[in-house]
Amino acid sequence: MTLLNAALQGVFLGAFYAVLACGLSIMFGVMRIINLAHGDIAVFGAYVVFVIVEHTGVSAFVAFAAALPVMVVLGYLLQLTVLERSLKGGILTPLLATFGLSIVIQNLLQLTFSPDVRSLGGSAGALTTASWQVTGGLSVSALGIVVLVVAVLVFGALQVFLSRTRFGWMMRATAEDPDAAELVGINSRHVYASATALAVATAALGGFFLAIRSVFDPVSGPTQLIFAFEAVVIGGMGSLWGTLLGGIALGVAQTLGAQVHPQFSVMAGHLLFLVVLIARYGGGRIALRVAR
């Protein structure tokens, strides 16, 4: 039963990874950029929520609702200032520029807040501690359920957005052929910036979940980036639902790995990632595919 429970916890963990990975997948799908600062942006979002909680005393959820519009605007601006330029440079430029950005964010956070580890679990109310025993040996936490449900809702909403709304079609069109998109009246700059804003918003959500289910510090970013990227690769690059499944697969691998040896959990995820990477010789196709 412990194995089954471990797998269940892995699903909950994986849902969290999927939320983290969502934004990475969006940016890759629309712009073919892998934002190496993605994890740091998520952590930045966690700090924004933290600041709001510290200054107003509201619950973390309310604080997140307030932080979200800020992050959306920042994401939009990020595209227009840094990322747009990097798109013109060549394949390596976005990676190099976002890597530099990652270092800047980490160290600015370190300067503004101390290197101390923090958590927002306390400000999220009973949610973080509530859990139930289902049958024998299976424990379900309220937080786990919430994250899982939110993850499915977020991915579902994105799916609907991309397949049924005009702006979603515009985003897919720009992803497939930015040149032709301009020719039919689509403002590709606005589409790209909106995609980044969306990615940053989901990253902030991921950071929020990180803060309430665990701890974070200024240099937590790279770890989140690696997990997010692993989720995207395992699920298949360019596939939105794949990212959700990949996240869950990663979570399950980690929790099952912990059953083998407590220090083996992250390693198990890395190994799954490397195996998938090698087996696919570099991941799936670039086109953003939406399951119909």
Partner: protein, 332 residues
């Protein structure tokens, strides 16, 4: 009109560089061990910058995981020394080990696209870091010292380490230099400029990239060896840290990606910044990151690359030049 490799400037400069190398060899005989240790650090940076440039500048391979090989070099040294090999021989063996490990990695890593390669290498470094952390014999998470070095008197040890660092740096720079001057080198420049065109001309792109990857594996391994030789104590958190990649990226981007002289300049620059700002902490890292990003976006050729382009200058004869009949020169 003829095609020449050497110009008066490059002859002078190459001769000058050789003289510098000889002069450097005398450093431990003249200076305090403190300075010697600092210069060893500089040589490590030069080596790392040159290797990262070999990968990214000449091979188009952006790796954020070279610290894997740095770690192999460092921990390999400790491993061999713990098993009875004399320290300096252990260092050579550890370097060879790093290069050897890079070969099987290259078999799949080189097939990956840019982002997957970058992060894939990073994950490999993380995997190695975890393996070390699980091994008590290697000090696990707390780190380990190269105690076998205590058999040497500190001044001599510092000198030997410096000479080893100089030897490694010279060997790898010369190897890279010869590589670039060879027909292989021309094909590497072609790959960098346009991979598909090069492939269609019969250039065996995969083999060339593998060569660079393995060379960088050896080189970064050598750097790791020097790190443990220089500081005597290593821990997985620092030796496998992605911070190394950050330094390499900064040095090469600012110095000049794809130029031979650029990385050396970048290394000297980083060294100067590090020694001036030791108290800086996060501020100087913010500066490094921002500068690297700015160069990537605005000055992709780096400092040296821009100078080279503007002045038509080439200090080391790695390219070809078309010499006009009247003795006028134009850079190739």
């Amino acid at each position: 009109m003829r095609v020449a490799r050497w110009t008066r400037t490059s002859k002078l400069f190459t001769g000058g560089t050789a003289a510098v190398a000889v002069a450097l060899a005398c450093v431990p005989l003249v200076f305090e061990s403190d300075l010697v240790q600092k210069l060893t650090t500089l040589l490590i940076l030069v080596l790392l910058a040159a290797m990262w440039n070999a990968l990214a500048g000449y091979g188009g391979l952006l790796s954020v995981g070279q610290q894997a090989f740095i770690g192999i070099g460092a921990y390999g040294t400790v491993f061999f020394a713990d098993h009875g090999v004399t320290p300096y021989l252990a260092m050579v063996l550890a370097t060879l080990l790093a290069g050897a490990i890079s070969l099987p990695i290259s078999l799949f890593a080189l097939r990956l696209r840019a982002a997957q390669f970058a992060i894939g290498m990073w994950v490999i470094a993380e995997v190695m870091s975890i393996i070390v952390r699980l091994d008590q014999n290697l000090g696990a998470g707390t780190g380990i010292s190269l105690i076998q070095m205590n058999q040497y008197e500190p001044n001599f040890r510092q000198a030997y380490t410096f000479w080893l660092a100089l030897a490694f740096t010279v060997i790898f720079l010369v190897a890279l230099f010869l590589l670039l001057r060879s027909p292989l080198g021309a094909s590497l420049q072609a790959i960098r400029d346009d991979e598909d065109a090069a492939r269609s001309l019969g250039v065996r792109v995969a083999a060339r990239k593998r060569l660079l990857f393995v060379l960088a594996g050896f080189g970064c391994g050598a750097a790791g060896v020097l790190v443990v030789a220089n500081t005597l104590f290593i821990e997985p958190g620092s030796v496998f840290s992605v911070q190394w990649s950050a330094y390499m990226i900064f040095m090469v981007l600012v110095g000049g990606l794809g130029t031979f002289e650029g990385p050396i300049i970048g290394a000297i620059l980083l060294f100067a910044i590090q020694t001036t700002f030791t108290q800086g902490g996060p501020w100087y890292l913010v500066g490094l990151g921002a500068t690297a990003a700015l160069f990537a976006l605005a000055l992709p050729r780096g400092l040296w690359g821009t100078v080279e382009e503007r002045l038509g200058l080439r200090l080391l004869p790695v390219g070809y030049r078309v010499v006009e009949a009247k003795g006028e020169e134009r850079a190739a």
